[in-house]
Symmetry: C2
Subunit: 483 residues, 2 copies
């Protein structure tokens, strides 16, 4: 009994320590943040240790500790927002509370409690209702809370203690000291900027989609390409669904970061007046596109797949739409990350749109007469959805372009223009190796991004050709099928 | 100049008052909540007005006011959660703070400040890191904050004031008084239950989807049915997209309500141990389905629609899949709302699945040889997506069934079984009127829900027939086309 309890505790402890390691590894800034909070609180506690300050502010000094604990948030924007909210609300609430106290003392001893009670009731009620206004809630929710608090404390405690001005003055001073300590520590030691996080989150979301679309084509057509999916690949695919879901559910995160980012001033590469709201717009379009990705994902392993020979007819335009949309999104993500103009995305978008036209031409061609419509429908649906994805990609590209001109992104540097070509050649042998490894039955992790190289485009306007690594028969077959 | 300022202020004021009215109208509980908060704060302020209590708790009484302001939340669950968090954290924090203070006083006068500073630093740092654990954050985030606060205040102020126990005792008492005042007022005056809200939100989300699918069929095939869309309908459709988007973005809302609902005890129709997490599962599946709805929506007015004669061939199975999925979802939504077993949803699901089979039969039929594939693809894609919607609907139905057995929903009452039939006959003439109004060019609001009546199913297993209101030629044509 005792032994099993001991075992259980041991498992629990190891589970918690594993989780802790994972949390710290996922974002090491969490550890830094914890240290910063500990440091700021210890710093403010000095107000109690050292006599002169203690004498000046008295027991109110504990408000400074309280303020640091409450105001200190993960990002600079959140801390600034809370600090400013708390500071301003304390000043306004203190003054209104004092005003209400003065007015009520004029009304005579008997009426005073009623007058005070009434003003507390009305102020608390109206302010609480104001917290329901969406725009007010987004920026000033905490401020309104502190306003009610300060108003009530000053107004009501004033009834007992006639040194209201003195109390208000002390409370305001300590809270300002606490707020500024929190803001300064948050700002000086490894600051975390909500704006940067927002910027990166949107860029990462686009990258997630790009990886999915770059891999989708080969994933869907692999039976035509004679590739057997390994367990690992199926696992990969499940995790890619998770990634898409996280993109779909990112709205709340983006909105929160946007609210914080608005409080932040110029930092790093972000100037004052950076068009933060544009990220919200891009986020919305990216979620739209993620919806299509989820719908496409459900067709990956669904029952009633089209026969290989039918799939093969669709291979070329579908692969191109999927891969080129993926490439375009990848370039857009990179452009946001590096704050370059998204000029390199355009050729890929052109290719993708060309593929949509190719698809339309293919559909009007005279090769379907001998086919059963039920065989064609599954892959035609995928093709149509991919065409829809191209439209979504175009919307995203426009929104990113708008962001680039609003935020005055720079032109991409010359040297990076050559990079993709080299990268492609570098990656090419790798997929061959992976294929061989797969054929030998060994399991090797093959990231989706590698699939990109399957279709190479020599120039934006020329038609694509499928690159054939030396003599893998399946790919040669795929090329034949596509022609 | 003065005049234009005056005008501007007038517009602003009228805008704000309009917004206020809207907020109050959307959810009248907001006004009740504001009054409750005002009342609770005024109530607690009595601690200051009346002498005996004031003498007992001293200036610490303001902690009671502070607690009410901070703890009082919109729903019972949130208030209970915050109250319990604050109460427990204050007790634990107070005791640990006292312990740290005792230990440090043993270490001698010189070492004491260092020891205290160190313990504050470590406690604040470790506790702050604990707030990153997702499960801890969901339930105890506020408690950890209050723990740091109380620990620091007791530990540090104790260094000055040797009446630590007395202070801890007062702080704990006042906070318990404040918390319980908040909880009691929140609970007694028109309580808002997060659990009920969660229950209704999930039910409403399903209803939103059901309305979309019930309307989608006629919306998509109306060119075949020779119905010209009015401006009003296009407006309708835009708002239905907004509704779908709100379903897609409901994850955060559901998660928050779930966290609150867990704090609540038995209330209304919800027993202790109600399977709240099942709502999260259903919410996830509903969002999946909403993704398909959004993809389908993009095909409604897209370029390159299929010709009417091709659409007409798909009309019957597509209308049935769309409408019957909608009906099934509508029944599921109703079953959740009324807490009945979702038995009435099954026949609709059967019909929808039958329609999927009909679609497959149709696709293998020999009627496509003379058609251009590019004409067929758009509508075939819609059909495939609708088949996917039927699969999603089945998943939702299973999850709702699971909820029904976990929460022991009752059998639906006999009388409601007849209701839909009556409803259908009642609605039938209405659509005819609307059609006539449309033909006369007048604009009349036509809710999507009315479209339901177009396909009536006499029994779950029999094939559907399209109901024909007396002699509107377009519908007769549609029937011919479907046969």
């Amino acid at each position: 009994m005792l032994m099993s309890n001991y075992e259980k505790i041991k498992t629990d402890v190891s589970h918690i320590s594993q989780l802790t390691k994972q949390l710290a590894k996922d974002d090491p800034r969490r550890i830094v943040h914890s240290i910063k909070v500990g440091f700021a609180i210890t710093l403010v506690s000095l107000f109690f240790y050292f006599d002169p300050l203690y004498e000046g502010l008295g027991m109110n000094a504990m408000w400074a500790v309280l303020t640091v604990v409450v105001v200190f948030e993960f990002s600079v924007g959140a801390t600034l927002g809370k600090g400013v909210n708390r500071g301003l609300a304390t000043i306004i609430g203190g003054m209104s509370g004092f005003g209400a106290h003065r007015l009520s003392s004029l009304s005579g001893d008997k009426l005073e409690p009623f007058f005070l009670g009434f003003s507390v009731f009305i102020t608390a009620g109206v302010t609480t209702f104001m917290r329901f206004f969406p725009k007010v809630k987004a920026r000033f929710d905490y401020g309104l809370l502190v306003f009610i608090l300060t108003f009530c404390l000053i107004c009501v405690s004033g009834y007992r203690d006639d040194q209201v001005i003195d109390m208000a003055h002390r409370r305001i001073t300590t809270i300002l000291i606490g707020s500024s300590t929190a803001v300064i520590v948050c700002l000086i030691i490894c600051p975390v900027w909500a704006g940067t996080d927002l910027h990166n989150l949107v860029s990462t979301n686009i990258l997630t989609l790009s990886l999915f679309f770059q891999g989708f084509g080969i994933e869907y057509f692999k039976t035509s390409l004679d590739i057997t999916p390994s367990d690992d690949e199926i696992e990969d695919n499940k995790s890619s669904l998770q990634a898409i879901k996280s993109v779909l559910n990112s709205k709340n995160n983006i909105d929160t970061l946007l609210n914080y980012a608005r409080w932040e001033f110029r930092h790093g590469r972000f100037k004052k007046g950076h068009p933060w709201t544009q990220y919200q717009k891009i986020g919305e379009l990216v979620r739209n596109c993620a919806c299509r990705a989820e719908a496409l994902h459900s067709f990956l392993y669904s029952q009633g797949q089209a026969p290989n020979e039918v799939k093969a007819k669709f291979l070329e335009p579908c692969m191109k739409m999927s891969t080129e949309s993926g490439n375009c999104l990848s370039e857009l993500s990179m452009a946001i990350k590096k704050m370059n103009k998204p000029s390199k995305a355009k050729p890929h978008l052109q290719n993708a749109k060309q593929a949509v036209q190719n698809l339309n031409v293919l559909l009007t061609a005279n090769i379907w007469k001998n086919l059963n419509l039920s065989d064609v429908t599954p892959v035609a649906t995928v093709a149509k959805l991919l065409a829809d994805v191209v439209a979504c990609t175009e919307d995203i590209a426009e929104a990113v372009q708008e962001l680039a001109s609003l935020a005055k992104f720079k032109d991409a540097k010359e040297k990076t223009k050559v990079a993709p070509q080299i990268e492609k050649t570098k990656v090419a042998p790798q997929i061959e190796k992976t294929k061989m490894a797969n054929n030998q039955g060994s399991i090797k992790r093959r990231p989706h991004a590698n699939h990109v190289i399957l279709i190479e485009t020599s120039s934006p306007t020329s038609s694509p050709r499928i690159s054939v690594p030396k003599d893998p028969p399946s790919l040669a077959m795929a090329q034949q099928a596509a022609e």
